[in-house]
Amino acid sequence: MSLRERVSKSVSDLGLPRLTVILFLVSLFIVGGIQGVPLGDLVNSSIGRFSMNALLTISMVPAIQCGIGPNFGLPVGIIAGLIGLVLSMEMGFTGFPGFMVASALGLSLGAVFGVLYGHLVNRVKGQEMMVGTYVGFAVVSGMCMFWLLMPFRHPRLIWTLGGEGLRVTISLSDFFSNVLDNLLAIKIGAIKFPTGLVLCVGLIAALYRLFEYTRAGIAMDLAGQNEQFARAAGINVERMRVTGTAMSTAMGALGIIFYAQSYGFVQLYTAPLMMAFPAVAAVLIGGASPKTASISNALVGTLLFQTLLAITVPVSQSVISGDISEIIRLIVSNGMVLYALTRGPGGGNNGS
């Protein structure tokens, strides 16, 4: 193989989007190094953001595998997780138990919401992405009323003035912020490694990998790959799609709980509105397509996407003394979503 062939093969194996992002990242690191930005901080925030967001991205995998495509209805799951969080706090749980209660509530609510949402997307086959986006918007907007009207009483949660309705941003510092991050955390110089969080994400990823190889996992994946084939083999395609959607939604619920404990705050009201987009963008950057995805797609994608976001801020500030990270974030995440919607089936380097 000539050099030219070898280069073009590795480019096509990697895929153009990933290559672009990697090249951009490398150039950012070089510029940052020249400008004297402390690399330790860069790595630190990259790891932090990756572990915070990984589960939200992983939640895309069962959705894509069962055939509904990237789960644009992720806010449904996020809402479930948020309800779990505020309920746990309202009941006065703190520390690790509080986190566990929030997770248990979030997961079960997420599964229930997911089943309902799955039945809905079964009725709009072929338009799951569009419908999911609007279901997400609608649910988030509807929940704004819920947050405001529900009789929450805990003084840390409700508005200090008026004494009714949940706050927009609730600090977790008195409850369970960073409980996973600090679990078995390792410190090497400036770099703090959130061992507990990474281990939890890793455990969920490993369990899902195992599920992929069980009969149920194979059946679900087949339903997404080729509906006719699956039906002919006696698989209940509709049920598989509901299962996958429910798994995705439940993972989304747990994902926002992981995210919140790491971030230290719970953001309610319109905050979840756009949260599906970075997750969708990340899994697609990782090499998934609307039809095939794997855990490694999700992990690689989250690492690339979040690192990109993490290091643009300090590097761009050092160069042009302004913040273009928000612009980059919008261009990359919306660009990836657009790319995914226009790209036909097939292509990409993914799946087993």
Binding site: L210, R215, I218, A219, Q228, F229, G234, I235, G351
Partner: protein
């Protein structure tokens, strides 16, 4: 006369990628004559008509050899539009009608007589008014020509299918200057009396000096109304004969062709017989679009290879799809006396029945997955094979045994690939089909339903597939139900051949029966009736 024939096709040949589908075909029609064009599926009728109309599919695959003469002049139409303006018309099998429009509007569609308006004088004819009275008048005249006394202002929506066919015909008749008219299976969807009416209309059209080419599988119709009959077989004209003096049997025999000697297929220890029935269909009806089955009762003997033959669209393909639950079915299917629940895909697998679908790309294969995955996945799902149990209790897919099995299958079936992990997309059609066979083998079926196993694959692979099937039958005693459009193939490997016509079983023939018997059965006639 300068030119005796209005339309003449001389020495027309056509190949697709070196594979000749027409070999020096001659076809002649005089003005006022009805020429019948008959042949089995794939004999080359459609290709011949595509050439006549200058269809794009002909040009994009390298054009054709030979010449087409219209009224003595050599013509070579670049597109169907040119053919239409030269006066060649076609009545299609599928209706091209707008349901919301009236009959008259449909007849004059896109050819409406126009009245200029002030606007159209400046901005082009698109802004002219349609001259409705003339539309009605023209439509009435065309309908009268074909003897249809229906109100021309009725909307097409809701008309019986037969009438729709007549409207198609009326549209062609109305086109001024139409000289050659091709009818492609015009009676396929009509009832007997409607068909009679249409044939009468056809005669009237011909007597007005139009050359008519009539393509039909209903041989008795061809014999009644045609002046001459051209029989095509494997891309060649077998004969052109006046229909006076020709008989149904003779035409049927010419269509099917010479008897090929059957090579021996190997001995069996026990000959299959009616005393040992493995699969029993009773009054099976299947709603498979285009291949409806309207009540078939059939008993499959254990250990035999039963062929299911018949022309395309008559329902032979629907049978196995109905048994497997892929299309909605009614009736009863029994395996070893046990009822298999219908409309529940997967049930048949549990009863030891496997299926090779004719829709390889759709139902048959996952193109973006590996050979190993494709071979093992259905066995894993339906029977729990290729799984291993983990210490924690969960059973997961065992890649090692699946890969080992796939390697064996690749060896046995001679699948040309780089290894069991190669994706199916990169294999040729023949090798993909071998993967399908391997998947069916992995299920260790007692009964294997095979549908069009050799469609779209090259000759070498075809032989290999047929050898594999007979091998399975002889060595492992698998009962095979083989559905195929290729009669020659059925006659080579089958013990008995059931012929399906119009969704019903016509007859069960022996592969050694005469061509005439097969030809007649495929036209829906049992020999005793003919």
């Amino acid at each position: 006369m300068a030119h005796e024939y209005l339309l003449e096709m001389r020495g027309v040949s056509k190949h697709y990628h070196g594979n000749y589908v027409l070999k020096g075909v001659d076809l002649k029609v005089k003005a006022g004559e009805i020429l019948g064009l008959v042949g089995e599926n794939g004999a080359g009728k459609s290709t011949l008509m595509n050439i006549l109309f200058g269809m794009p599919v002909i040009h994009t695959t390298g054009g054709y050899e030979g010449e087409v003469r219209l009224a003595g002049e050599t013509v070579r139409f670049a597109n169907p539009g040119e053919a239409l303006s030269a006066g060649i018309g076609m009545v299609h099998q599928e209706f091209m009608l707008l349901p919301g429009f009236s009959i008259a509007e449909n007849i004059k569609l896109n050819r409406e007589p126009l009245i200029p308006t002030t606007l159209s004088r400046f901005l082009g004819t698109r802004l002219s008014k349609v001259d409705m009275p003339r539309v009605r008048g023209d439509a009435r005249r065309a309908l009268d020509t074909i003897g249809l006394g229906i109100d021309e202002m009725l909307p097409v929506l809701g008309l019986p299918i037969g009438f729709m066919q007549f409207i198609e015909v009326a549209r062609e008749v109305d086109k001024s200057g139409v000289r050659v008219l091709v009818f492609d299976e015009p009676t396929a969807l009509l009832t007997e009396s409607e068909a009679g009416q249409l044939l009468a209309a056809l005669k009237r059209i011909a007597s007005s000096g139009v050359a008519v080419i009539f393509i039909s599988h209903r041989l008795e119709e061809v014999l009644t109304i045609c002046d001459n009959i051209t029989v095509l077989r494997d891309g060649e004209v077998v004969t052109t004969t006046p229909s006076a003096g020709a008989t149904l049997t003779m035409i049927a025999e010419l269509m099917v062709g010479r008897q090929t000697k059957r090579p021996p297929l190997g001995e069996r220890t026990v000959e299959p017989s009616d005393d040992d029935i493995v699969l029993e269909l009773y009054n099976l009806e299947v709603d498979m679009p285009g291949e409806e089955v309207r009540g078939v009762s059939l008993a499959v003997r254990r250990g035999e290879i039963l062929g299911i033959g018949g022309l395309a669209g008559q329902g032979k393909v629907g049978l196995s799809n109905g048994i497997m639950g892929i299309f909605p079915a009614r009736g009863s299917v029994k395996k070893d006396g046990l009822e298999i629940p219908l409309n529940r895909p997967g049930e048949a697998y549990k009863h030891g029945i496997a299926f090779l679908s004719e829709d390889r790309k759709g139902v048959g294969l996952i193109l973006d997955r590996s050979i190993e995955y494709n071979i093992s996945v259905v066995a894993t799902l339906t029977k729990g094979d290729f799984l291993k149990r983990l210490p924690i209790g969960a059973a997961i897919r065992d890649r090692k045994t699946a890969t080992a099995y796939a390697e064996g299958a690749i060896e046995d079936l001679d699948i040309r690939c780089t290894g069991p992990t190669q994706r199916l997309r990169h294999l040729s059609g023949g090798n993909q089909q071998k993967v399908c066979v391997a998947r069916a083998l992995a299920l260790k079926p007692e009964v294997l339903l095979v549908s069009e196993p050799t469609r779209g694959i090259d000759v070498g692979a075809k032989e290999k597939i047929l050898d594999l099937l007979t091998g399975m039958n002889r060595q492992q005693g698998v009962t095979i139900v083989l559905t195929s459009s290729e009669l020659a193939e059925l006659r080579r490997v089958c013990d008995r051949i059931a012929i399906i016509y119009d969704g019903r079983l016509v007859d069960i023939l022996s592969p050694d029966d005469s061509n005439a018997k097969f030809g007649l059965a495929m036209a829906g006639k049992k020999v005793s009736e003919a």
